[in-house]
Amino acid sequence: MLILTLFCLLILVIIGSGLLVKSIPILQEKSLWELLATSNWRPFKGDFGFLAFILSTLYVTFLAIIIALPPSFLASIYFSEYANERIKRFFSPVVDLMAGIPPVIYGVWGMLTVVPLISERIAPKFVDFSTGYSVLAGGIVLSIMIIPIIISILTEVFNAIPKSTREASMSLGATKWETIKKVVVRKSLPGIIAGVVLAISRAFGETIAVLMVCGNYTDLPKTIFDACYPLPALIANNYGEMMSLPSYESALMFSALILFVIIVMFNAASRLVLNKINSRYQL
């Protein structure tokens, strides 16, 4: 048992160092700056610039958070402060189910509804032409996928504020709304930020759903109606051909390493904050 347990502790280290070892060849060949800050992507000529992929990932994630945060935030406040048992009993399976639907299903839905909506209705108002497979499509699909994560964390964070704190505020003459605004939300701020960071890291790594609606085009996207090519999609799409070129394989492993490092850091930071919140109020 002890051995198994220690093995689990080591998994993180093993994955990280495995990916690092695999990406050493490309790191020796190119400078880190060249890899991260240029957008020349011609693997068969030996050009590996990740900028377009990194920016795509950032754009899509950013859009997803912008779209998902307001409704999830409002829903979580309602859920923890106002909702009665009946609404809770109905709404919590909805959130669970949303979290449980596989990415590929979200991708299918995105291709069937979001992509045509953008190419036929939304994009023509702003740009001349868009296929619909775009940053915006990725952002919308992703936002729906992270809503359940944000809601479940925020509800937990709001519920962790003790009843006595709320009562103290009410007894000073604050209305319920003022209490929510000035006490509950303000006190939960670290938790809210941690929840958002966790959602960001989830959005960062999402692969199949985004790949299906983003267009996967290696140029830098200029508007949100342009196609883009996030990092995880890059890895997923090129696995077949990468085996032919050692530096190509190394480059893809390097992108997996980037994802891994960013996500581990984000996760660690937000979990630390959330654990602190939980232990402060529970014991």
Binding site: A75, L97, G100, P102, E178, G205, T207, I208, I235
Partner: protein
């Protein structure tokens, strides 16, 4: 004015909740509407025939069976790892000791690692050990993905086991192993829910199996053969320019959704039973 502000935001909250719920139902509606017309007995009972990907006869039995085999294998392996770990951090060492908390923290992080990274890592291991894309490769990658889910959920139910029970067992002179046996029996429904959750997450995940399990039109007969999986069957068929094949992708999506719904409902059902009997 103050009243107005509260009312305004409350209305926004209700609108948000209704929007979120309707988005979910809209997604389910679209999947059913698109997937239902091409759904047939043949889809779920036959493997692809020669011209399947050109719109001819056949079904996706290969992917359904492949996914099930993959998940059964992964659940067995990952349960064999996560159950001892979850028991260890709750009953062998102290529940809230430093090591326990460090382990929980590690599993929280592992839980957040995207499946594509597990897929890439699994693939790397396979090259290292010389394993071809196969059922075994897929099982290894998916196990990585679901171990954190299993540990976290089992850990949660294990936390509810009353201290008095352990103390009573100890005072009766039970050995460590006997205590754990009682505990496992006590939390069996919780373990079942954890397995269902992990099963649902694993069966729907495409990125882990993309490079590790391969894809084939036949049903695998051994661990070293490649295995088709449902999410990949959807993904590949959608890429086809032929309308019939695309339609089958939609029905495959419907099949996967129904499986997920069934799993989710049964997890809820077991959970409600637990809370009734325990509280």
């Amino acid at each position: 004015m103050r009243k107005f502000e509260e009312r305004f935001f409350k209305a926004l909250m209700v609108i948000s909740i209704i929007t979120i719920i309707s988005v979910l139902f809209y997604i389910l509606f679209i999947i059913v509407q698109k997937g239902f017309p091409s759904l047939s007995w043949e889809m779920v009972s036959k493997v692809p025939s020669g011209g399947y990907y050109l719109g001819k006869e056949g079904g996706i039995l290969n992917a359904i069976v492949g996914s099930l085999l993959l998940m059964v294998g992964s659940v067995i392996i990952s349960l064999a790892i996560s159950l001892p770990v979850a028991l260890y951090i709750n009953f062998i060492i102290h529940k809230s000791s430093k090591l326990s908390n460090l382990l929980r923290f590690t599993f929280d992080i592992l839980f957040g690692i995207p499946s594509i990274v597990y897929g890439a890592f699994g693939f790397m291991l396979m090259i290292y050990f010389g394993i071809q894309a196969s059922l075994l490769g897929g099982i290894i990658a998916v196990s990585f993905l679901i171990i954190p889910i299993l540990v976290r959920s089992i850990d949660e139910v294990a936390g509810f086991v009353p201290k008095e029970l352990i103390e009573a067992l100890q005072s009766l002179g039970a050995t460590r192993f006997e205590i754990l046996k009682v505990v496992v029996k006590q939390i069996a429904p919780g373990i079942t829910t954890a397995i269902i959750l992990a099963f649902g997450r694993g069966i729907g995940d495409a990125s882990t199996v993309l490079f590790t399990a391969g894809f084939t039109d036949s049903i695998p007969t051994s661990l070293s053969q490649p295995a088709a999986t449902l999410p990949l069957a959807i993904f590949f068929q959608l890429g086809s320019p032929i309308a019939e094949v695309q339609n089958r992708a939609y029905s495959a999506a419907l099949i996967l959704t129904v499986i997920i719904l069934a799993l989710s409902l049964s997890a809820r059902f077991i959970n409600s039973k637990i809370s009734k009997s325990n509280l």
